[in-house]
Amino acid sequence: AQSVTQPDIHITVSEGASLELRCNYSYGATPYLFWYVQSPGQGLQLLLKYFSGDTLVQGIKGFEAEFKRSQSSFNLRKPSVHWSDAAEYFCAVGRNTPLVFGKGTRLSVIA
């Protein structure tokens, strides 16, 4: 069965610091992988996605993620966090079936 694990429920980082949000998945074949961001009271916005090819993918707002098949991971990174990045982040996996989402990681940014 497909599943996504986001080990960190809540992360706090200082503005300007680097960020890495972890995502591990279980999927029977080569998956499509996604990261979404949800700001308070908003719907989910797609940050980036991986289908195939280059394992390092660039997204919006300066985010990137790296697909590591050997580790079944798709971690999200940003070199320098801005206060506006405070939100909930969801990793998702799927291909020919509806996406399965992780439970999310809440990011807080402090001055």
């Binding site: 429920i9 499509y32 996604f34 979404y36 009271g41 908003q42 719907g43 989910l44 916005q45 797609l46 996605k49 289908f51 969801f90 998702a92 079936t97 509806p98 996406l99 399965v100 989402f101 992780g102 439970k103 999310g104």
Partner: protein, 115 residues
């Protein structure tokens, strides 16, 4: 339309009443998905439409939940005899499964509160 539209944005209902939640997907998107988001629980898949048919309704929690899609466009999620545990944010998404730019576009959701 330009995005996925959901209505109402907020709904407060009394336990035992029926509610209807509406989703208007992006024009031309053939696939439509309903998810439920409860506090701390992430997104729970409910049902998926391809055109007007629902190949996967495995996530509907009980027979009180039903959904339909007409004209390959608007979808309605109906919850009968609402219970307090139905309180959640109901999210709708649409996608063009045949597009190389495949990905879900989400609406802002309907926050349902059962009192």
């Amino acid at each position: 339309g330009a995005g996925v539209s959901q209505s109402p944005s907020n709904k407060v209902t009394e336990k035992g009443k029926d509610v209807e939640l509406r989703c208007d997907p992006i024009s031309g998107h053939t696939a439509l998905y309903w998810y439920r988001q409860s506090l701390g629980q992430g997104l729970e898949f409910l049902i998926y439409f391809q055109g007007n048919s629902a190949p996967d309704k495995s996530g509907l929690p009980s027979d009180r939940f039903s959904a339909e899609r007409t004209g390959g466009s608007v979808s309605t999620l109906t919850i009968q005899r609402t219970q307090q545990e139905d309180s959640a944010v109901y999210l709708c998404a649409s996608s063009d499964r045949d597009s190389l730019n495949y990905g879900y576009t989400f609406g802002s959701g309907t926050r349902l509160t059962v009192v």
